[in-house]
Every structure is written in C-alpha cells, then in structure tokens.
C-alpha cells in the first residue's frame, strides 16, 4: 500500500474525532493526533480500535502508547500487516 493511500485511509478514520478541521485538511506524515488534530485522549482509543477494524490487525499496549501521530501509526500498521 502506498503512503498516500494509507494517509487517506487514516484521514477517514480520524475524521469523526478530529476537532481541528484545518489540521484534518492538511493531514500528512508529521500530523500529531493530539496537537494538530485536537483529538482527545479518550477518543485516541477509538481511533486505534477503528484502525484495528479497518486493517484487521491487533494493536498491543506498547504500540498503542506510540501511536500518537500519523507517521508512527503508518509504521505500526505496516509492521502489523507485514507480520500477518
């Protein structure tokens, strides 16, 4: 899967939880879920559960704690998909 496709999929996932529309419009690898998109920490859990469902992967606690921005989310998703 290329990066643009993955970012586009992540954008759809975070959309319902992102409070900053401008940040969502400009989403890129450097986008931080909390600082740039204003997603609250309780909704970060929902983002991760939606990622699990969308990609059919299981995110462990350690990965969950790292998944705070688009870049690390992409890394984790790609690693989990590769390990399947």
């Amino acid at each position: 899967m290329d990066k643009e496709t993955l970012i586009a999929q992540l954008k759809e996932i975070v959309k319902p939880y992102a409070k900053n529309e401008e940040g969502l419009l400009n989403i890129n690898e450097n986008t931080d879920f909390v600082n740039d998109l204003k997603i609250n920490s309780a909704n970060l859990v929902d983002v991760i559960l939606d990622v699990e469902e969308q990609f059919n992967i299981v995110i462990d606690n350690e990965s969950m704690e790292r998944m705070l921005d688009v870049r690390s989310a992409m890394e984790i998703i790609e690693a989990k998909l590769a390990a399947k």
């Binding site: 609250n40 920490s41 309780a42 859990v45 991760i48 559960l49 606690n61 969950m64």
Partner: protein, 148 residues
C-alpha cells in the same frame, strides 16, 4: 469479585453515591438499582414547585453502575495507583420519561469494549413499570487525577 466487594471499592459517598445495590454482574454486563429519595436536595430547585429528577443525575446513576461498578469488576485484582481515578469521557443519552421523587430505577449496562483502560457501554435505565427512562452510550477511562 463479589458484589459486596465492588460496592466497598466505589469511590463515591453520600450525597453523591447513586448505587443502592447490584442485581447481577459478569464481564459483559451489569444490572444495578437506585431509589431517588423524596428528601433529596435537588428536588427543592428542579423544578420550583414541580420536582423531577435532573437528567444529569439519571446519567450519573448509569455511569456509577455501568462504568465504575463494571470497571472495578473488570480490573479485578489490578490495583489502581493512588494518583489514578475514573473519569467520565463521553455520554450520548436520550431521555424518554421523567423520574419523580421516590422512584426506583434499574440500570442495564452492556460492555461495548474495555481496551487500553477505556470502558464503553450501552446503557438503559428503566423505571419500576419496566419502561425505558433513558438510554444511550457512555464511556469512561482510568485517568491521572488532574489536581494531584
């Protein structure tokens, strides 16, 4: 964990304890009840001359049973550190019928998920006639106490 142990672990005390007892609990669901006493302070002002239980208190009944009691049960022997507590994170509730002073309500809560310290439940509150009073989805999570 027994129901008695769960009740003893509740972090609430009167006048803000809104659980009288639990009728059932397992890892998927919980059922509990509470009776709104006629002499509760809220009825003096909600509303003037026409006492009705405020929706926030109905929500609190559902949260204390559906999130906190079930949360304590799901955590089991895991002990929360002193600076951690339960925080309400979201509610989406429809209110269908009024609850008058003296009425007993029963909470039915069903776990949607419990992951990464966050518990989300579908909840319904019923009156003694088994009519739905309010229902919806609530979520809470284990958080660090903000002012410690």
């Amino acid at each position: 964990m027994t129901i008695q142990e769960i009740l003893q672990k509740l972090p609430f005390a009167p006048p803000f304890l809104f659980v009288d007892g639990l009728d059932h609990i397992d890892s998927e669901k919980v059922q509990g009840h509470f009776t709104f006493r006629q002499d509760m302070d809220c009825y003096k002002g909600h509303f003037k001359g026409y006492p009705i239980t405020p929706g926030v208190l109905l929500t609190e009944v559902m949260a204390q049973t559906g999130l906190v009691c079930l949360g304590i049960y799901l955590l089991g022997d895991e002990v929360l550190e002193g600076n951690m507590t339960f925080g309400l994170t979201s509610t989406e509730i429809e209110f269908l019928r009024p609850v008058f002073p003296g009425e007993k309500v029963t909470v039915y809560a069903e776990k949607v998920y419990f992951r990464f310290g966050k518990l989300k439940c579908r909840v319904t509150l019923k009156n003694e006639a088994a009519e739905d009073v309010c229902s919806g989805t609530i979520a809470g999570m284990i958080i660090t106490k903000p002012h410690e």
